[in-house]
């Protein structure tokens, strides 16, 4: 009897702690990641000041920014839909997010082919450009993988209004990647 109560108590305690822990843990992780990005962003300004080459593909970069913005809102919608129990809409929004994420990665690859020619990584701007965009694109890629996992599990019927933490977590991460782009975009293209 006592043992049963104890087990129950333990699982109840877990039920209470885990949502907070997950959320806090993700925030701490994102804070940590911010430092990683800040290291590279500061490296960009330390090595090459506010200099930037003339032959940056501004139109493409602006387009990529818009793509990320759209994917951000679709991710937001995915979270909103699953939290209110609209599973089909959630799946659709997640798919849209993944597609836009992939478009973004494709755009980066296209941009790199040009950039490799114009300002190769051996130049000082190229160094900052390729490392920062590369780091960011890597995060987009992991975000897409996370979304894919969530989509798959969602399609298997895993999430609902009371059980949406994985979706929320991945979407938060996705927004975080967007957040970094908000800084990287002006840092690389506009300043």
């Amino acid at each position: 009897m006592a043992a049963v109560t104890l087990e129950a108590a333990h699982s109840r305690a877990e039920l209470l702690h885990q949502p907070r822990s997950n959320k806090l843990g993700l925030w701490i992780f994102m804070a940590s990641e911010t430092f990683l990005f800040s290291a590279l962003i500061s490296a960009r300004f330390i090595t090459s000041g506010v200099q930037k080459p003339e032959d940056l593909n501004q139109a493409l970069a602006f387009g990529l920014t818009c793509v990320l913005l759209v994917s951000s809102i679709s991710a937001y919608l995915a979270e909103a839909f699953i939290a209110t129990g609209h599973r089909r809409a959630f799946l659709a929004a997640t798919r849209v997010t993944i597609v836009f994420g992939l478009i973004f990665i494709g755009g980066v690859m296209f941009e790199w082919r040009e950039a490799l020619h114009n300002f190769p990584p051996g130049t000082i701007y190229g160094t900052a450009f390729f490392s920062l965009i590369g780091l960011h694109a890597f995060h987009v890629l992991t975000g897409v993988l996370g979304l894919a996992v969530v989509l798959n599990l969602g399609a298997l019927g895993h999430f609902g209004p009371s059980n949406s933490w994985p979706v929320e977590g991945v979407v938060k991460y996705w927004h975080f990647v967007d957040l970094m782009w908000v800084i990287i975009y002006p840092a690389l293209y506009l300043f």
């Binding site: 104890l6 209470l16 806090l24 843990g25 940590s32 330390i46 990584p121 000082i124 390729f130 490392s131």
Partner: protein, 605 residues
């Protein structure tokens, strides 16, 4: 043991797969151990290893909607697989890092053997550089994760009355990242040049031929990841998992120390990772971060590197502050003096640690106007550190001091770390630092802070919690001899190093001016004696873990929560859920209690 073999297989398989894939992607020309292949291979191998050891069964399966599988029963084999019990992870960390400390210690002995004579008699300069670099990085790793990984994981949940860490699987992951790191670091000297020291300053680390430096970079990045995840786990655990009534003001001081150190490790470690990624990119992708001709610069590296690596010394010593104050309190049987001030001091140290990095760079040629502010900020750290010393002596004053092995370690910590702290001022001061920087004075200084600060905390904590962890008592007489041996031996070995430092011997050299040989002979002899003392430690613990007398639940009659459960603690930590009703250190007040155990605790949430 099955998961271990599987992990080795998957790790090697992953490495080969990654290397070949990278080789094909890079045009299928050139050698299979080119820089890109090694890098990608290491990453793939790391993933293979983690999945193999149990990451896949315990965790990865969930990503695909499959139920997780457990790998085996809870017998001794649980120490050799992905185990989510924080106590298992803590023991894994402790044993692994004492082993790493042994390897690093052997390197130190080899170095002292070479340094006993002024010329190169025992090993070539190339070998010396490798041994020195290896000693550096291994010991840095021990100091960074030794206490936080072992006692942090083992004790923080127990001390705050939780069943486990907030993220048990992440916890297991952060430990199992360590073995591949060890493999990478230990094989680095075998694969070509590895001579840039643990600081890996470019352009040397970029230009050095061979794969050694690549593996070093990847290994340290993975270690950084482990450190970040460990810190994240501790921060979250302390914030969300405290037992009812365990307010922030009632946390044992070790928990506060671990919390503060975790703050640093979570945030600043990324900068070290970033610098190593930059070196790696310079090596494999042709970027120009540190290529002066293209406009890059090494000062960038130094700034970013020390932005992590100075706070890192507080990752090393803060947990040891916690351990030592914990020991001093319980063995003086008095409340911790100025508890709130100490907590404030810890947090102040965390804050200050992030804005003092450039005191490592007074000779680096950075702009002169940086010197004065960084000197001022650096010296300001002595104020919060002083509070910790005040707490130590204030607690001992008028106490009932029980002079056991851990207590000797803790008082030795006060003494030795103080020498380290005072000589630190000589480096914070620009005038003296311009002469003393990169000399043996620095070597002596940081060995006093890191051995005196961090390692003595680790050793003292090992004695103190040994009965709790193993359920058996260590040999007190041998423990006392060892504690005195270390406390005194440290001074005998490292005090003369201050002298050779001011007399013009620079660090990281295999040869030095002949007129310094007599003192170096003495240092070497003393170092061998100090090193031999560690056999006493290992022998004592190994023997006691098997044959030692059974320990009671609370052999020290200490008040914190971990002593309220059996030795070793049960699987869920607490047979009855604890509810904290008072401060942890209420010695000398009749009837005061820290916690009561009850079944109703959970409902308070």
């Amino acid at each position: 043991m099955r998961p271990l073999f599987r992990a080795i297989k998957w790790g090697i398989g992953g490495y080969l797969l990654g290397a070949v894939a990278a080789w094909v992607m890079a045009g299928a020309s050139g050698p299979l151990n080119g820089p890109i292949e090694v890098t990608v291979g290491f990453i793939a191998g790391l993933i293979g290893w983690i999945f193999g050891i149990g990451g896949w069964n315990n965790w990865g399966r969930e990503w695909f909607g499959l139920p997780p599988k457990d790998d085996g029963k809870d017998d001794w084999r649980r120490y050799f697989r992905f185990n989510t019990d924080h106590k298992v992870v803590g023991v894994q960390y402790l044993v692994a890092f004492i082993a790493v400390m042994g390897i690093g210690g052997i390197m130190a002995m080899l170095m002292r053997l070479e340094l006993a004579r002024a010329g190169t008699d025992f090993m070539s300069e190339e070998t010396y550089n490798k041994v020195m670099s290896m000693h550096g990085i291994l010991m840095v790793a021990v100091a960074v994760a030794g206490i936080l990984g072992s006692f942090g994981n083992y004790l923080i949940p127990l001390m705050i009355g939780a069943q486990d860490m907030a993220f048990p699987r992440l916890n297991a992951l952060s430990f199992w990242l360590i073995p591949p790191v060890a493999v990478a670091l230990l094989s680095a000297p075998l694969l070509g040049s590895f001579e840039a020291g643990w600081t890996a300053y470019p352009p040397l680390s970029v230009l050095a031929p061979g794969d050694g430096q690549l593996l070093f970079n990847m290994g340290v990045i993975a270690f950084g990841l482990s450190s970040i995840l460990g810190g994240l786990n501790i921060l979250t655990t302390v914030t969300t998992m405290r037992a009812p009534g365990m307010t922030w003001g009632r946390l044992p001081i070790f928990v506060w120390a671990g919390f503060s150190a975790s703050l640093i490790s979570v945030l600043f470690t990324q900068y070290f990772a970033a610098t190593l990624v930059m070196i790696q990119l310079d090596r494999i992708a042709g970027t120009a971060f540190f290529d002066a001709k293209a406009g890059g610069g090494t000062l960038l590296y130094e700034h970013l590197f020390w932005f992590y690596s100075h706070p890192a010394v507080y990752i090393m010593v803060l947990p040891a502050f916690g351990v030592s104050l914990e020991i001093i309190t319980h063995f003086s049987r008095k409340p911790l003096f100025a508890y709130k001030a100490v907590v404030g001091a810890f947090l102040t140290i965390v804050g200050l640690s992030g804005i003092v990095w450039a005191h490592h760079m007074f000779t680096s040629g950075m702009a002169n106007y940086f010197h004065a502010p960084f000197m001022a900020l650096t010296e300001a750290i002595s104020i919060p550190t002083g509070v910790v010393f005040l707490a130590a002596i204030g607690t001992m004053w008028k106490g009932r001091i029980w002079f056991t092995a851990p207590m000797i370690m803790a008082t030795g910590w006060v003494f030795n770390f103080m020498i380290g702290g005072i000589t630190g001022i000589f480096h914070a001061d620009v005038a003296t630092d311009l002469q003393l920087h990169d000399t043996y004075f620095v070597v002596a200084h940081f060995h006093f802070t890191i051995i005196g600060g961090s390692i003595m905390g680790l050793l003292g904590g090992t004695f103190y919690w040994f009965p709790k962890i193993t359920g058996r008592m260590y040999n007190e007489r041998l423990g006392k001899i060892f504690a005195l041996w270390v406390t005194i031996g440290l001074n005998v070995v490292f005090l003369p190093m201050f002298w050779v430092g001011v007399n013009g011997m620079n660090r990281r050299v295999a040869v030095y001016p002949a007129d310094l040989q007599r003192v170096n002979e003495f240092i070497s002899a003393a170092a061998f004696l100090l090193g031999a003392g560690f056999l006493l430690f290992i022998g004592n613990l190994l023997w006691s873990a098997v044959k030692g007398p059974k320990a009671s639940d609370n052999p020290w009659n200490a008040s914190t929560l971990e002593w309220s459960v059996s030795s070793p603690p049960p699987h869920h930590n607490f047979p009855l859920l604890p509810e904290v009703v008072g401060h942890p250190y209420e010695y000398g007040r009749p009837g005061a209690r820290h916690a009561v155990l009850s079944t109703t605790g959970a409902t308070h949430g």
